[in-house]
């Protein structure tokens, strides 16, 4: 145990200027972390690209404008040429534009899955953590059932159950898997909060139950959930690719998504590796960005790591 150091930290903290909330001080620590900055930069570029991509893309990503250069019979696809930086894909669409625009759909999948998973988890976790008793039991049994399958396999199974696969079902499959994770995470910290002195103090003050839950328990339980969300963003993007790979993804590829682009070209991996490599690299970089952010965030928010 780095004794004196932790004490020193405490003293440092006290010397800080007025009115620094916990979040603000966590942010202060984050700003100093180069790893976080790398992650944040990656994500920043990714988000900006995805928002602007429809205007940045030199070509329409859904129009097979180079189809005359596609010859399936000889496994030929359009090579890079003026106006088409990376050539065309299997259907003669501009590959570079698809990569660019793909960032948008990828962001939608990641954010969508995270939001749904988060919302479901928040509802279940809050119910279980705030009410306890039989509600807790019921919620946790549901969570148990969901957790008794490895998560990716559960996502595959859920995706396979939709009669009509689409972008939305992909998001749903990936997000449902996250619900129990969020729920348990939240329940755990809510339960801890329930027994914490400051919640007791609020109860003793006569603060209403609802206010205690939403003003004290929930906000103080959110840190691990926020961290998890960041990590889920990465997972969702990777899992969406796995779904596509298994033919469980969004079959409609007019609006491209990286995972789908990667999963769809498995048959030509050996002959046109660049069709897989580009989206794969994009996915890896973005997933890494989110993970870096999540991990540094975890460190910054974890009281144990404040040393």
């Amino acid at each position: 145990m780095a004794l004196g150091v932790s004490k020193k930290e405490k003293i440092d903290g006290l010397a800080e200027s007025a009115g620094v909330s916990l979040a603000a001080s966590a942010w202060k620590r984050l700003r100093r972390s180069p790893v976080f900055l790398i992650g944040a930069t990656i994500i920043g570029i990714f988000v900006v690209l995805s928002l602007l991509s429809p205007w940045l893309a030199p070509q329409d990503p859904s129009v097979p404008m180079l189809i005359d250069q596609v010859v399936k019979a000889r496994n030929e696809i359009p090579p890079p040429q003026p106006g088409h930086l990376l050539g065309g894909d299997l259907q003669g669409r501009d590959f570079f534009s698809r990569l660019l625009v793909g960032s948008q759909q990828t962001l939608i999948v990641g954010v969508g899955a995270t939001i749904i998973g988060l919302a479901g988890g928040l509802i279940l976790g809050t119910l279980a953590g705030a009410l306890g008793g039989w509600v807790d039991s019921v919620v946790m049994r549901i969570v148990d059932v969901m957790l008794s399958l490895p998560s990716l396999l559960l996502a595959f199974s859920i995706a396979a159950m939709f009669a009509r696969p689409s972008q939305f079902t992909v998001i749903l499959a990936v997000s449902i898997v996250q619900i129990p994770v969020f729920a348990r995470l939240l329940r755990g910290s809510m339960l801890a909060q329930r027994h914490s002195d400051h919640v007791l103090a609020a109860t003793a003050l006569g603060v209403k139950k609802g206010a205690i839950v939403f003003r004290h328990m929930l906000p103080n339980s959110l840190s691990p959930v926020i961290v998890q969300s960041t990590l889920v963003l990465a997972t969702a993007i990777i899992e969406a690719a796995a779904l596509s790979f298994l033919g469980l993804g969004n079959p409609d590829d007019r609006l491209p998504e990286w995972g789908q682009m990667l999963g769809d070209v498995q048959n030509v991996f050996d002959t046109h590796p660049h069709l897989a490599a580009w989206p794969a690299v994009c996915i890896i970089v973005v997933a890494l960005g989110f993970t870096l952010m999540g991990e540094t965030l975890r460190e910054a928010l974890d009281p144990k790591n404040r040393r």
Partner: protein, 559 residues
Amino acid sequence: MVHSVTARRRWVAAIGFLSVSALALSGCAQSQRDSGGGGKEGGTLTFGAAGAPKLFDPFYATDGETFRVARQMYEGLVGFKPGTAEVEPALATKYEPSADGKTWTFTLKEGVKFHDDTDFNAEAVCFNFERWYNQKGAGQSDAVSQYWLDNFGGFKDTPDKPSLYKSCTAKDAKTAVIELNEVTSQFPSVLGFTSFSISSPTALKQYDADNVQAAGDAFTYPAYANEHPTGTGPFKFGKYDKANNTVELVKNDAYHGTKAKLDKIVFKIIPDETARKQALKAGDIDGYDLPNAADWAGLKTDGFNVAIRPAFNVFYLGINQKNNPKLADLKVRQALMYAINREQLVKSQLPEGAKVATQFMPDTVNGYNKDIKAVGYDAAKAKSLLAEAGATDLTLKFYWPSEVTRPYMPSPKDLFGAISGDLQAAGIKLEVVTKPWNGGYLTDVDNGIPDLFLLGWTGDNGTAHNWVGTFFGRTDNRFNTGVSPWGKTLADALAKANSEPNEGERTKQYEEINKKIMDEYLPAIPISHSPPALVFKSDVKGVVPSPLTDEKFGPASKG
């Protein structure tokens, strides 16, 4: 790599010999390939199959993987000329219809014996026909006796569903007379289907062949279908090794015709297409079916023999007239045809040898109308036709299937991409729906939910009825042709042609129908015929690619 495997096998054989007695109970499998054989005679051909055969009784078979294995062991009364869809004699040396076309006399080949050493004769033929006609319970299911139901109709105890088949009489040992209830162009070519191969009556009885049970969501089959298929073909059943996913057939030394050159055929089940390719390259298999069109060129370069089958299928854009009244307008349907750049699509998306379809059957089918010319791509024309029909603001529900490849549709997604691009360019708005082939697509298409859909057909035989008859022979079909007045006309015309006993007249009628379909009705838009292929190592000879995928390995040799 190949070398080390070979060397190792000899070594194992020695050890295995010693350990066999000790491990007799474990059901161990010995080295299954003997690569020592050379020359044209003998040897083992290992063929990469995409799936496991469901069973070995051809009558109950419905899928290609099952037929592939069965057709090496069985023969029918008639067969198809190698490489064509033309009927030729097989177990029957001669067959003649009566004047009314309802009574057929088959003269049987003599000296033919089943694999169980019993005699093939007219009685055996009639036994087989009666067996088929007398299916009970689960045996009557569509999923089991599909080919009988499709081609002969009902069974003996289904009076509400009459059968084409009436009776079979063994006039003498080598003459069987079959009576039909009505005339059809299909007969006797249907007897060339592997389903209607002749089995040994003794074995059928001994192994309880008709005992099919529906269990849960599937069927279970008797011992005959699983372990004791007994036909007359050049190969006999060896074994089905489920642990290793291989089916083994051995040479029938008592074959009545030219004996097989190979000692053994091993069908090795490799579900993954890429894996089959790699297995071929690694020398683990000698050939496989349905190589990805994109790989053909590469395989050829690597010295493999890509055997392209004559295209015997049709890929079409299905139109359902029911939901959108605009689609009942011929102009709109024609606009769709003009809008699609079929030339381009065939060139870019389909394998070598694919052709634009001018009608709903390939040119090898009787009744193909040579005079029909493919309508060229003309987006402007499409637009003006739509305008004429007052359908400038057309929105169509366009279905395409995921998770499937079909010989006529190697990559539905890419085909959809090309077609939808063309349609949109013509100003048609699309509401795209994708469903898994076996997870709702077929059901929805059958239930008439889409406006446009992608589908196709692989022919069973060379009769026109098998094509246009199947598509439009009734009015409540997938295209809902009954919505338009001509739907009934078309169905009637098809029924009439089918029951025309005179072949020349029949052909003429079909040619006319085809012309009308394309000019006046246009119930759907034929797009292409694309050839599937097989690929073999260069030392494999003698397998003739068949439009019906009716490849016989009897004449094949290796090395």
